[in-house]
Amino acid sequence: MNRRGLLSAAALAVLMSTTSFNAFADDAFWAKAAEPYKGVTIRGVSESTSSSNYAKDVLAKEFSEKTGIKIQFETTSWDQMYDKAIKDMEAGSGIYDFVYIEQDIIYSYLSRDFLVDITQSLKDNPSIASPTFKPEQFTTFADYFKGPNGDLYGVPMEAFLKTYLYRTDLFEDAAIKEQFKAKYGWDLAPAKDHKQYREIAEFFTQYGKDNDLELWGTTVQASSGHPASFYEFVETIAPTFGVYNWGLNTDTWAATVENGGTMNSDKAKAALNWWVGNLQYAPPESTSSTWDEVSATFSAGRAAQAFVYGENTAWIATDDTRSTVVGKVGVALPPVEPGVMEEIEAGKGYIGYYDGGAFGVPHSSKNKEAALLFLQYIGQDSVQADWAVNAARVTHQATYDDPRVQEQDQKTSGYYTLMRDQGKLFAGAPAFPFHGQLREAIAPYFYDAITGKLTPDQALDQAAVRAEEELTRLGYRKQN
């Protein structure tokens, strides 16, 4: 072996021994730090999503093997998750040791002082502070889980965008492109604005009928009895028309135009009219569709384009046991009204929600230290890449550079790249401490717009008035 070969072999040996030593040291830390809590069972509740199920099925098991701390991890529906977590924290019953904190509810939880200050707790208990848990490795999404003192109250476990998915096999089909251009006079491509989106929806709905296919132009997350429809409007549609923060004036919490809000503004009305109008080009299940059903509809090949939560993008694009459109999924930014993108780029708005959540430890937890260990475990850099590949969620900046993620990025037509490069156009939910309360008060007007009982204009006029009533009753509304 020549000198160069010897050096390479020596370097490789050092690298391998360092890697295995690090792994050994990591394992030793978890075993030692968890020693006092060995045999303890911690309980957590989360929404049943790809990200949570990965944490439950993979990470929780790994953690238990390394620490001897058992985890009862409950993944349930979105409504039930909130119901259980809030009841537990409100009553202080201590059933759960960690809870899922969706980004939009953090402000309500902080205002009620439900959550443990993770940064401070780790400072106070250095014996449970993992050397591999480094908050500075998180993307800026972690900022949404910081309190006014800058401390972390939740360990980010998922972050994703709700993007525009389209069927590449249809959009790139030469015959289809020709037909489309003949009809609309422009080249078929992912829509840049709402007019284009509507024309594409109309075209593919007709194409489905003409060819006897179970194919429609778009999905609409328009369940007429579930808040999912309300969220699609305020998170995904209204911002692309230039209506932000649910149309509330964040200084006075006014909603009506006459009091300085934008909930019933012309832009908001145009947005709701457009969205409700899309129902005519959507599959019949749309008025019963929440986020789950929209993903199922698109993955079943029933729609040419859709707005889909990013957590579902990976499996729709790559998992042929669940999806019929593997290898046929394109990803793009949602279409916007002319002028809105300039507004967003100038920092005056956002194109949609930067969605996701974290796990936090309630004050009522009876096993805070054990729970904090688990949260640090899932917040380590070493577990991020596989998690990102499986659930299309990214919470660490370095995850984007991992070869496994880059490979998955290619299979998902650049979803991860879009998230990294265009994530700045999206924003977390507005800082409402009254999030669920206001949603419950005004969502029925959106349901009535979906069923046609109210016109979109009437629905928004009535919702804005009701929003102000509710915010006055809750004590937030300030007079102009």
């Binding site: 369940s223 009895g225 299940e285 008025t287 669920g436 309360q437 069923t451």
Partner: protein
């Protein structure tokens, strides 16, 4: 003669359990009903509101609509279940091939948890997935989309409840019919009474205690239905199937409006008791004519 103390001692465990799990929560709900209490309000504590929550209820369109819908739902499910349940009970009084098997299958829905019933019906009725919309469209040309049409959603919740609870009515009435003495009916037949006269003047009066018990059980169940409908429609489309139990749940839990929800619960309890009382007076306590 035994001392009354012995009797009270025997009753003590039941009274204690009722006091802890029934009466104390009731008092607590009554107490909370006089306060504005939303833990996510600017002031998250209890703020005395007097009878304002009750006054607000009278003008709350959504609450009044929920009450109206619940009464309609209750009327249709109780009536349908009684009629179908009675016919099935009469059928099971006769002998026919595979009667035992049919009776077992017919009773199976009772074993299914309401939440699972709601989930199953959701799968059955979701357009693009369930067989019901598919065959309604194919055979009758009906555009069945529960998420879009209020009447369809309402009817579906009624049909689901009938499917789930008719077996209970059948079994109860079957027990009543089986225990009924045959002699009065045979005497009436000898006297030349027709089937309708036998039903109206003999079977129905003799079945009345069982019938009334069944009506009251089903009435109270139907008035507080939540889980099946929550799973199937979530109260939609719009608020078309937001029956009162579901409405109260939404106000108390997702909206965390505890004070208003407590007042709503109490008023609903009062309305339920009044409804049962009216029914009792009309059907049982009414004095015979001329007395």
């Amino acid at each position: 003669m035994r001392s009354p103390v012995t009797g009270w001692l025997f009753l003590a465990p039941t009274i204690t359990v009722l006091a802890i799990f029934g009466f104390l929560p009731f008092l607590y709900v009554a107490f909370v009903g006089f306060f504005d209490w939303n833990p996510f309000a600017a002031n998250p504590g209890l703020v005395f509101a007097g009878v304002n929550n009750y006054r607000r209820l009278v003008f709350d369109d959504l609450f009044l609509r929920s009450i109206g819908l619940t009464l309609q739902f209750t009327f249709w499910v109780v009536l349908s279940e009684l009629v179908i349940g009675y016919l099935l009970a009469q059928l099971f009084m006769r002998d026919f091939p595979l009667k035992g098997l049919f009776r077992t299958i017919h009773t199976l829905p009772l074993l299914v948890a309401p939440i699972a019933v709601g989930a199953s019906w959701k799968l059955l009725t979701t357009p693009g997935l369930g067989p019901i919309p598919y065959y309604l469209e194919r055979w009758f040309g009906i555009d069945y989309r529960m998420g879009a049409f209020e009447n369809q959603a309402f009817i579906t919740t009624v049909v689901m409840d009938i499917w789930h609870w008719t077996p209970l009515v059948t079994l109860t009435l079957l027990a009543g019919l089986s225990a009924m003495p045959k002699e009065p009916i045979e005497s009436a037949q000898v006297d030349g009474a027709n089937r309708w006269q036998i039903f109206w003047h003999i079977t129905l009066p003799m079945l009345k205690p069982v019938l009334l018990t069944t009506i009251f059980i089903r009435l109270m169940d139907a008035l507080r239905t939540v889980d099946e409908v929550w799973m199937l429609t979530g109260g939609g489309p719009g608020t078309a199937t937001r029956y009162i139990g579901l409405h109260i749940w939404r106000v108390v839990f997702p909206q965390t409006d505890y004070g208003y929800g407590a007042a709503m619960s109490l008023l609903t309890l009062y309305l339920t008791i009044m409804l049962c009382w009216f029914l009792y007076v009309a059907l049982v306590a009414r004095k015979p004519r001329g007395s």
